[in-house]
Point group: C2
Chain length 354, copies 2
C-alpha cells in the first residue's frame, strides 16, 4: 500500500427509492440494507482500506451526517469528514476532496467512489483499482470503471468504448466513444449484444494532476472557487454550480478511458437491485430480519427489524419494509411508484413523516 | 333502572384468532379493535350501565387482567373484579358471579354477557334485555338471546326453536328444541331458510333463583363448591370441572327459552367478522389507524397504530395488522391459519413471542 493512494467517498446522497428504510435522517449508505451486519458505508470503507491508508480517506457528505460517519468509521479523524453546506452534485463534491488532498501531496492517486454500492468480489475489485492506478499514474487520463453488463438493464447509464489502449493484468482499458443515459429495453438489449457497451459504475480513478487539469479546463469556475486564497466553505458552495462530474467533465474531456471491469457490482439503486443481490430462500424471497416467518410467499423482498416478529402469508412479488414508525407494502412491479408515495406523504402529512 | 338488575361480564378469554392485535397480555376484549376510541369491554360496560347500576356489575376475568379492567372501567370497585385463579370455562365463571350476587340480594335479575361482542343497535338491545327480564322475573326460566340470522354463517352455533310461549313488546319468546354446533354451509343455508334457527349469542338472562336452581340440578358439584361455608377461591377452582354453561346446563335443562332478537350483533370472532362490521372506504377496505395510505388496494382489513405511517399498494383480500413488535400479513381466506401461525411461533420462537 502506498501513501500516495487517496480515496474520496461520496456519502451525501438522499434517495427516496428505498423509503421507508432510507430516510432523510438516515439515507441508504448509513444502513445495513443487506442485513449483513455492516452498513454500505462501512463496507465501502473496509473494502478500500486494504489499499488506501486510513488517514488518506475523505468522506464528503452533508453537514448533518458528520456524526453518523464518524460513528460508523471510527478510524476517521473529524477533519476527514468533509461537510458540504449545500448539495451541489458530484463535481463540487470531488473538487472539495481534491482541495484537501492537494494540501497533503501533489502526487496522489485518487479513487472516487459512491458510498452505497455493492461489490461482491472484493479481490477482483482491488486488483482492478490497482491496475487502473498503474494506468492513471503513467497517463494523463480520467478512468472510469465500466462494468461488463450481464443483462439488458434499463436502470443504468451505459458507456460505449472504442479502441483498446492498454491491458494491465489482463484488464483492458479503452478510449470512451460515448456516454448514454438509461436506455429503453430494446436499446439495452442491443447494447448488451454489441459487447461495446459497459455500465457506468460512477467509480473513478485518476491522478490529482489529471483531475485538477480537467477541472481547470472544463469547470474553471469550480476549480477557482476551490483553489482561491481565501477559502470560505459556505461562500464556495453558494457560488458553485450544481453539476455532475459526468456532465461537467467526463462527457467533455478527451482523455476519458474505461477500465473493463467485472467484480460483481450493483448500485443497489432500487429494491429490485437489492432483490437481485440479496440471498434468497427456497421460495425466492429475499428476507432481511431474524424473525420473519413466511407461508405461501414467493419472490418477495421483506425487510424487518431483527427484534420484530413478522408472519407473511400468501404474498407474491411484493416489497414489505417495516421500520419503527413506517410500513411499506408494495408490488415489486410498482417500485418506481415509491417516489410518488413519498411525495404524497410530504403533501398530505408533511415533511416530518418522511 | 332497578337495583335488582345485575350484570356478569365474562372477560377472561384469550383468543389467538386476532393475533397479533390480541395477545395473551392484552386479549381482544381490552382492545379498541374497531378503532372507535373505546375497547370492547368499555363498550360492553357503557351499554349495560344504562340499565344496571354501576355497583351491580361483576367482571369475571383472569387474575392477570385485574388492573386492566379497573383502568378501563374506573367506575368499578376492586371487589367487583372477580379474579379467576384458573381458566375453567363459562359455568364456573357464572357460578362465581352468582356467588357474589347472592350476598347482595336473593331477588336479582341477571344478564351474563361476553365482553368482546359487537352490538350495533343499543336501543333495541336494551329493550330486548328489559323484555327478557320481564319474562325471567315471572317464569322460572333460562333465557338466551337468539339472533335472527341474516346469512348462512358457519362460524356460529345455532338454536332451533319450537312453540312460542310469550310475546313482550313485540319480542317473541320460544321454547328451545335443540342446540347445534357450527354447521356446514349447506346445513347453514337450510337453517337460514327454515326460519326456526337462531344464532346462539352467548348472552343469557335469568333470575338468580332460576340459575341457582339449574346449577343445583345439573352441576351440583359446581354449586356446592361455590356455596360451601368455607369458601377458598383457589380450592374452589382447583376442584371445579372445566365446563361451559351451554354444555353443562343450557343443553340439559327443560326451562330453556330463546328471545328472538335482532339488534345487530357480531361475536367479532374473526377478522372476517370484524371486516363485515367495520366502516369501509370506497375500495371496500376496513382501515383502522389514522395514517394509512392505500393505492390499488381493495377488500383488505388494515389495522395500524395511529402513530405509524403505512403505505399499502396493490393488495387485495388481505389482512394487515401491525403492532409495536409484530406484523401479520395474511390472505383473508387464510385467516383460519392464524392459529397455526401462532402455534408455529410458540414452537419455533417461544411463548414470549405471542
Amino acid at each position: 500500500m502506498t501513501k500516495k493512494n487517496f480515496c474520496i467517498i461520496m456519502a451525501g446522497g438522499v434517495g427516496s427509492r428505498f423509503w421507508p428504510l432510507s430516510t432523510t435522517a438516515t439515507p441508504k449508505q448509513f444502513l445495513d440494507i443487506l442485513g449483513v451486519g455492516k452498513t454500505l458505508l462501512q463496507l465501502t470503507y473496509e473494502r478500500m482500506v486494504k489499499i488506501v491508508p486510513p488517514e488518506n480517506f475523505y468522506v464528503v457528505t452533508n453537514a448533518q451526517y458528520e456524526n453518523i460517519v464518524l460513528q460508523q468509521i471510527p478510524d476517521l479523524q473529524p477533519h476527514q469528514v468533509l461537510k458540504e453546506p449545500l448539495r451541489k452534485n458530484t463535481a463540487p463534491c470531488i473538487a472539495y476532496g481534491n482541495h484537501e488532498i492537494r494540501k497533503r501531496t501533489e502526487d496522489a492517486n485518487i479513487i472516487v467512489t459512491p458510498s452505497d454500492h455493492l461489490i461482491l468480489n472484493e479481490e477482483d475489485f482491488l486488483n482492478t483499482v490497482t491496475a487502473g492506478w498503474e494506468f492513471t499514474q503513467n497517463n494523463d487520463s480520467l478512468l472510469t470503471l465500466g462494468i461488463k453488463p450481464t443483462r439488458p438493464d434499463t436502470g443504468f447509464g451505459y458507456i460505449q468504448i472504442k479502441e483498446e489502449v492498454s491491458e494491465i493484468n489482463s484488464l483492458k482499458i479503452n478510449k470512451v466513444k460515448t456516454f448514454t443515459e438509461k436506455p429503453e429495453l430494446e436499446i439495452a438489449k442491443m447494447f448488451l449484444k454489441s459487447g461495446d457497451f459497459f455500465w457506468n459504475s460512477g467509480i473513478f480513478l485518476w491522478s490529482l494532476k489529471s483531475i485538477d487539469c480537467a477541472f481547470k479546463t472544463y469547470l474553471p469556475k469550480v476549480y477557482d472557487l476551490f483553489t482561491a486564497e481565501q477559502f470560505v466553505l459556505d461562500d464556495v458552495y453558494s457560488n458553485c454550480p450544481n453539476i455532475s462530474i459526468d456532465y461537467g467533465i467526463m462527457e467533455k474531456a478527451e482523455n476519458v478511458y474505461v477500465l473493463q471491469s467485472s467484480f460483481g457490482w450493483s448500485d443497489l439503486g432500487t429494491w429490485g437491485a437489492l432483490y437481485e443481490n440479496a440471498e434468497k430462500d427456497e421460495m425466492q424471497n429475499a428476507v432481511i430480519g431474524e424473525n420473519v416467518m413466511t407461508y405461501n410467499t414467493k419472490n418477495c423482498v421483506i425487510s424487518m427489524p431483527n427484534n420484530k416478529l413478522a408472519v407473511v402469508d400468501g404474498l407474491e412479488n411484493c416489497i414489505v419494509v417495516d421500520t419503527a414508525d413506517k410500513l411499506l407494502i408494495c408490488k415489486r412491479d410498482d417500485e418506481q411508484k415509491i417516489r410518488q408515495f413519498v411525495n404524497d406523504i410530504k403533501f398530505q402529512k408533511g415533511e416530518s413523516y418522511i
